[in-house]
Amino acid sequence: MSAVTDFLDDFLADPEFGPSVGHVERLPPRDAVWADLPADLPDGIRRALAARGVERLYSHQAQSLALARAGRDFVVVTPTASGKTLCYNLPVAETLVQDPDARALYLFPTKALSQDQQAELNALVTSGNLPIKAATYDGDTPQSVRASARDTGRIVITNPDMLHSGVLPNHAKWISFFAGLRYVVVDEMHAYRGVFGSHVANVLRRLLRVAAFYGSSPRLIFCSATIGNPAELAGLLAGRPVEAVTENGAPSSEKAVLFYNPPLLDPVQGIRKSSALQSRSIAARLLERGVRTILFARSRVRVELIASYLNEHFRNLYTENSGVRVEPYRSGLLPTERREIERGLREGTVHGVVSTNALELGIDIGGLDAAVIAGWPGGLASFWQQAGRAGRRRDLSVAVYVATGSPLDQYLINHPERVFGKGAENARIDPYNPYIYLDHLKCAAFELPFRDGEKFGDDPSEGLSMLEDEGIVRHTGGRWFWASQGYPAEKLSLRSATSDNIVIVDATEGRNAVIGEMDRPSAKELIFDDAVYIHRGRQYIVLKLDLENRICTVEERDVNYYTDAVVKTDLKVLCEDQRFGPDSAPAVLGDILVRSQAEKFKKLRFHSHENVGYGEIYLPPEEMQTRALAILFPEGSRAADVLDSASNDMRKAALLSGLLQLMKSLAPVQLLCDAADLGGAWRLRDDHYGVPALYLWDRYPGGTGLAEALGPMLGSLARAASERASTCDCEDGCPSCLGVYDGNPDFARGRKKTALSALKILADAWRA
């Protein structure tokens, strides 16, 4: 009996926890599907494989090799730990052994992953004594090593950021590399969605353009965790059709997945026990039994709080468990802090970690037996990656999904078939986001002049003449030349909306140490003057947010509250591009201008969330153009009639705000995006359309395809919303469905019933 089996038996029988487990899915162990090594594999590679214990291939590895040999672009979809690296290492090594001039480029989303891969490649190369030098080339590569990486690296391992800002703008230093480039490997493809993915698609276009200049046309190999549209996403990234390998031949160990819905405390108001607290208790149970556990929390604040609680918990238990050490691991930690924690996990001095999805990107921390997932991580791919963190050995492992009270979680916890069925979500990018496209058009023009009629994804002439207007390219002699002193890649970050991140500096007792950074729009809503900022379990007060110099000074201080900005939003419709649905319930896709301003903030007590005061925020508004979907209630339509049945404007407002809240929180299930990627607003009488309206918009300037994708999905969104509201136990809306109405409760009375009939009308109208 393993510790995990013991835990499962006791947990399900425990009167405190057992009744809240709504679903147990047993994923049986799966046998491998094998294929023989091709007879014509070069001897060196055969030796290298044999030395590493590989005598035959999994079916997906063999299929990959066959596709690569046929010169096809392809994407391999695999769960964690299924031998995916061989899917690209094998064809690449074969080509490099056969052609001494051939080169390959490997792209990983993070430096940590590049390091893992470098180690793996070295092992393969050494065991076969292969003439292949793999070199890492990223921001940490010392200047002295860079030239040899460029000139002699047969496989260059880097990340999209370095490719974008270091390699492509200096391609004349990489002539033999580009001239020999045969493969570009893009691993962890599912990480390239949304803004980041839209950037990376453009970086890949630039890469292929430069390669073509030196006479090469490399093939692309993608690897991805499970998503609904691997071939589509790979095709959008590559800018050309890509084939998918989806049958996975790797074996897997047995796993139990538990769906846990924290018990209701107040059915009327729909309040449940906190998912963070419940996850924490479950993790504590696991750790007590010596089960090495990772807990995923949704926010960095929670990560901090949970980790410090668990450590406190074990310190106060005067047993052998008092040595249990749990570390927070999240984005915003400095690289050295992260490395230290990763080492602790490997060496066994750290027994548990609490993480945001920073670990999602596959950093190999090994040897974990249980994963506790506090709140839906935003997508099936993320869910399975988090659940897959546990169970790298042959034994039984366990993953516990603990639902929050959000409508999304409450919907999913009651629909395990959405998680265990076939329907993984689609990952979306928009390589033609005009802002992103223009930025990369600049970089591409810097790298090589454009010829008249040359394509850059789409036809770039409109964009190029905009740049000509700005005076940074010059159109003459049938070409567009870069005509500015600037170095455009330097000013463009692939990771966030704006490259001007705010650096957070701890000034406590003259420490003056950088403890983190944040993008500008978020900073305006989170680290304004007097805000409370939490980092590694410590509380800080913001002394000064200096937007101009991009510095936020904070000081450590003990307070018993956190802060929450109240943001006011103005909208202006700029154009109407496309209509969805019938005239009785139309939705309009178009560009809007969103102007948002944080004007004041609330101070809320920890745990009770009781409001203990207000403060003013003096910051300039944030403005952006983006893509939005407006859902309209035209006069005389049945939906408008339902709305009008609310006797006054205040009641209508309570209803509209509830509908918006519910739809906005369920939309991420369909869109595979983060809840924070969508903005929303409701209007009682919209300035532009003159009727009541709900707006949902993409929170990245110019959009990343979310609003477009939502249009055709409105029907299923309305159905899911209506089902969520009808199965919720509350009376007039709660955080798990319509949200809490923060005005006079009289106006919210009976709104759930009205909302249900409105949603039914919409669902019928939008039925595809």
């Binding site: 004349a172 002049p449 005509a483």
Partner: protein, 393 residues
């Protein structure tokens, strides 16, 4: 979605125009005066330029006041050139003006200058690129100049101008030029005048060492915009200044070369740091380098001792080297050597112990890796000496 990229871009363009957010014009963009070509030609001719081909111009300027300097061993200025003698007539003095200083493949050169000594003294030939499409011809004409000479002298050309020129040829599909011997005078200037002059820019060296003050010079940082403005709106006085700046750079380069060739041969150079001077001379003639340091030592420069000891070592002048040991500064290494000297030459074990002890202490408190090795050696020496001196030994 691709279909409406154009309209989305148009909308952004219009709304940023109406919101008055249009960014300040960079001067490099649209050719706004299509009829400006005659005006440009006339202006260029007035400034001494003659058409070399489509969109490429040249001019030659005589610089009577510059003396040729002496033939010297290229080894002073280039490790690869050791042993090959270059006469002033073998050298082309070279400088590029570019569209940016940050490098990368979007930076191009639009103006080049080649100075050389001929029968009638020093003269400078410049080649000017009138617009982008003329770049291949501009590069070829420049390449002809570069390949005519045995050596190319430049100021920071080894890391900026020459690689950029090479990259531009690649980008334009031209074969590489045969590599001449590269003499980068900046490297020498840094050794000679770092710490003596406020910085080692060519104009600082001209002012501080050659006593030449440029009038009406355009700062290097404004040169790119001068060309972009010319492209956009036609000729203007700053471009003329940029052209003169380019010419003045290679004139200054030749003067500096003259000064160096004489000074390195004589072992004396105005305002130069003697140790830097000796390090350059030592590349060719160790004995002469030693004389420079001996002279410096006589004027009380104790800092010259370690370098001089190294030279004596290489020259096999052991006794002279030993004689210098008492003059070494009291740093860890100096003390260590003094300990050896005291023991082996003077036979004074007590002083040797004292020196070894101080050396061990000083090296032990340092964080430098080489000092750690020294600390261990000093420790061993100290223990051995103490044993030697122990009463029962």
């Amino acid at each position: 979605m691709p279909n409406d990229l154009r309209s989305r871009l148009k909308r952004i363009r219009e709304s940023s125009a109406t919101a008055g957010q249009a960014r300040p014009m960079n001067p490099g963009g649209k050719a706004r005066c299509e009829d400006g070509a005659p005006a440009r030609s006339e202006w260029l001719e007035r400034h001494g330029w003659a058409r070399l081909g489509d969109q490429v111009w040249e001019r030659r300027v005589e610089c009577p006041g510059i003396h040729a300097g002496a033939t010297m061993d290229a080894g002073y200025l280039s490790a690869r050139g050791r042993g090959s003698l270059v006469a002033p007539e073998d050298i082309v003095f070279f400088d590029l003006e570019t569209t940016g200083l940050s490098g990368g493949t979007g930076t191009i050169a639009f103006l080049s200058a080649f100075g050389s000594f001929g029968r009638h003294g020093y003269s400078v030939r410049q080649i000017f690129l009138e617009d982008y499409p003329g770049e291949p011809l501009f590069l070829e004409a420049s390449g002809d100049e570069l390949s005519r000479f045995k050596a190319v002298a430049s100021y920071n050309g080894a890391s900026f101008d020459l690689p950029l020129y090479k990259a531009r040829r690649t980008m334009n599909g031209l074969p590489p030029v045969a590599p001449a011997l590269s003499l980068d005078l900046l490297h020498a200037a840094r050794r000679l005048w770092r710490g003596v002059l406020p910085d080692c820019s060519l104009s600082s060296v001209e002012r501080g060492v050659l006593g030449v003050r440029r009038t009406d010079d355009l700062p290097g940082s404004e040169v790119p915009d001068a060309w972009f403005r010319f492209l956009a709106t036609g000729p203007h006085p700053e471009l003329a200044l940029a052209m003169d700046h380019n010419q003045a750079d290679v004139a200054g380069l030749a003067s500096l070369y003259g000064l160096l060739s004489a000074g390195l041969a004589a072992g004396r150079l105005r305002k130069a740091d003697p140790r830097g001077l000796a390090s350059l001379i030592a590349r060719v003639d160790l004995g002469r380098a030693a004389r420079v340091l001996e002279r410096s030592l006589r004027t009380g420069d104790a800092g010259a001792v370690p370098e001089l000891m190294r030279l004596y070592w290489k020259l096999g002048r052991r006794d002279e080297r030993l004689a210098l040991i008492p003059l070494l500064p009291d740093d860890a290494r100096g003390l260590y050597l003094k300990s050896i000297h005291a023991e082996r030459v003077l036979g004074d074990a007590q002083s040797a112990t004292r020196f070894a002890e101080s050396a061990a202490k000083l090296a032990g408190s340092s964080e430098k890796a080489c000092d750690a090795v020294l600390a261990r050696r000093a420790d061993r020496r100290l223990r051995r000496l103490e044993q030697l001196l122990a009463p029962d030994a």
